[in-house]
Symmetry: C2
Subunit: 304 residues, 2 copies
C-alpha cells in the first residue's frame, strides 16, 4: 500500500536551542520525497534520518526567515558534490530567488543540475505544483513578511482488485490495470462484468496541511478542513499572547482552535519558542481544546 | 592563570555525515572568544558547548567554501535577536563581503549592530587583527580558491609577582601592576629593589596555528615553526593521494610531515573526508611521522 509519511526534521523556532533544530519536514509519498522549509542543519538531519538525497526534487519554502531557509545553500552544494543531474524545483515567495541566486553564483559554479524557481503568490490559495502522485496548494498565512503554508493532496488511488473474482473470470493480466482504474470486464463470451463486482473502492486520498509561521488565522479553516493531519505552529502559550501578537505567531490554544473548527483528524504542533524548557505546557493547552494534540519532535515520523 | 583554549565545534569536510559537523573552532583567550570558520550548524554547536554568544566579536574565515562559512547568516541573525549592539568583525577573503552583504540586506534589516569586514589578502603572511590579548596573522595556503590559515599569537603576559618579596618590602598595591610589567621598586628609604628580585618571568606567550583547507605546502613551515598547537587539515589517507592532489587537500602523512619539519609541540588533524568511517587510519598514518597526533572531534577542548 502506498505510504504517505511526514518526517519532522526540525521544529524549533528562530533562536537555536539544544532541544530543537530549525524548521524542516520531508513528506515521503510513493517513490518521491518533498521538502517543506529548509532551516540551517537540514542536510545533516537528512543524513541522520537516512532520507535519500536523490529522491528529492521539490522544496517548498514558506517564507524568507532564516530559520526556514538557511539550510538551502548547504543542501544545494551537497547535491552538486553528489553529482546530481535532475532539476531541483524550489517553490516559494519570489524573494527566495533573490536570496539564493547570488549565493549560487558565488558558490555554485559548475553545478551539474539546474535550480528552477517557482514563485508562489503567498496571498492566495492556488495550485503550486502537481505531479502524478499529488497536488500542492498554497495556504495564505498572516506573518510579519509574506508567508504561506502548503496543502499536500494525494491524487486518487486505484481501486483494490478482488483477486478471487479476477481468478474466477480468468481476466488476462493486461486488463487488470484498466479494471483498477474503473473499467468493466467483457468476457470472451461477451458477458459484461461490472467493475463494482471486481473491485473494492480505493482508499480515500490523504491530505496534509503545513501552516507555519502565522498569527491566528481563521481564514485558513476552509482550506484545511478535515485534513488527515495538520501541522500548525504553536510558538507560544497563552500567557505570552502579547508576544505572539507582536511577532505574528500563534499560541498552542489558537493552533488547537483552528484544528477543532476545521475538524482535522490529527493535529501536530511545532515551532516552539526557545523560552519553554518544558513543552508539556504547550501540549496541555492544545489538548484542552483539541484532545490528542501531538508535540512535534526531531526524528518523528507521522504516517497518514 | 590566563587560559588559551581551542574548542573544536566541527571538523568534518564538505559532505555531511552523522559523525562530524562542518568546520568551526572557537579560541577562548582571557575574556574573549574568537571564531575560526563558521560552517552550517555552528550556532547550534555553540549552544551545545555553552560558548557565550556575547563574548564573540571577531570571526576569521579561511575561504569561501560553504562548509567553512554557511553558518554565518544564521549566527548573525541570532546575534540580532539577542539584541547585540557591539560591532562584529569578519576577517576573510574579500568575497566574504560579496557573499554576506546581499543576505544581510534581505534578512538583516534593523540589525542593532554593525557587521564590519576586514578583507584579508590570502596571498601573504600579514597582521590581520590585534587587540590587547593577541595578534592574528594570515598564513597563505594552497587551495582551489583563495584561502589562508590563521596564526594566533598571544601577547606577552605579565611576570609573576613573588608574593613573599612583595610582603617583605610592604609594596603598596598600586605599585604591583607596574612591577608585574617590569618596573623596579623604590622603598620609602630610597633603596632600589631590582625587578628580578620581585618577580619570576612571565609564561612564554602561546601560539596556535589553523591551516585548513590546503594542499601540502612546505612554505608554511617557517610561519608555524614551534607553535604550541597546529591544526592541520588531513582530508585523505595516502592511498587516496590522487584525490588529495585533485582537490588541493592534504593527506594525514603530509599534515604530520609539516608538523614534524616545523617542530610544532602538538598536532591535531581534522577536515576528514566523509569516505572514512574509521578515522584510526588517518591517525595511524600521521602518528608514524608525528607521534601523538590528535584526531579532532566535535566538542574537543585543547588547552595550550
Amino acid at each position: 500500500m502506498a505510504n504517505f509519511d511526514v518526517h519532522i526534521l526540525g521544529c524549533g523556532s528562530a533562536l537555536p536551542t539544544t532541544r530543537h533544530l530549525a524548521s524542516s519536514q520531508v513528506i515521503d509519498l510513493r517513490d518521491k520525497v518533498y521538502m517543506i522549509d529548509c532551516g540551517e542543519g537540514t542536510q545533516v538531519q537528512m543524513r541522520r534520518m537516512r532520507i535519500k538525497f536523490n529522491r528529492l526534487n521539490h522544496i517548498f519554502i514558506s517564507h524568507l526567515h532564516g530559520d526556514h531557509c538557511f539550510g538551502l545553500p548547504g543542501l544545494i552544494s551537497t547535491f552538486g558534490m553528489l553529482d546530481r543531474t535532475a532539476d531541483l524545483y524550489i517553490h516559494g515567495p519570489k524573494d527566495v530567488e533573490r536570496y539564493l541566486d547570488p549565493i549560487l553564483h558565488l558558490f555554485g559554479k559548475g553545478l551539474p543540475f539546474e535550480v528552477k524557481y517557482n514563485h508562489v503568490d503567498t496571498g492566495q490559495q492556488a495550485l503550486v505544483m502537481e505531479d502524478r502522485s499529488l497536488r500542492v496548494y498554497s495556504i495564505p498565512l498572516n506573518h510579519r513578511i509574506p508567508a504561506c503554508g502548503f496543502l499536500f493532496e494525494e491524487k486518487p488511488k486505484e481501486a483494490h482488485l478482488i483477486r478471487e473474482m479476477a481468478d474466477f473470470y480468468r481476466i488476462p493480466v493486461k486488463r487488470l490495470r484498466g479494471i483498477k482504474q474503473g473499467e468493466d470486464y467483457v468476457t470472451p463470451d461477451g458477458e459484461v462484468v461490472p467493475n463494482a463486482r471486481l473491485t473494492r473502492p480505493a482508499d480515500p486520498p490523504k491530505r496534509y496541511a503545513y501552516c507555519s509561521d502565522t498569527a491566528f488565522s481563521p481564514q485558513i479553516i476552509p482550506i484545511v478542513e478535515e485534513v488527515d493531519l495538520l501541522y500548525h505552529e504553536a510558538t507560544f502559550v497563552t500567557a505570552d499572547i502579547a508576544r505572539a501578537r507582536q511577532t505574528f505567531h500563534s499560541t498552542a490554544a489558537e493552533a488547537a482552535e483552528i484544528a477543532k473548527r476545521a475538524k482535522v483528524k490529527r493535529l501536530v504542533i511545532g515551532h516552539f519558542s526557545a523560552r519553554y524548557d518544558d513543552e508539556s505546557l504547550l501540549k496541555a493547552e492544545a489538548d484542552s481544546i483539541f484532545p490528542g494534540t501531538i508535540l512535534a519532535n526531531e526524528g518523528m515520523l507521522l504516517s497518514l
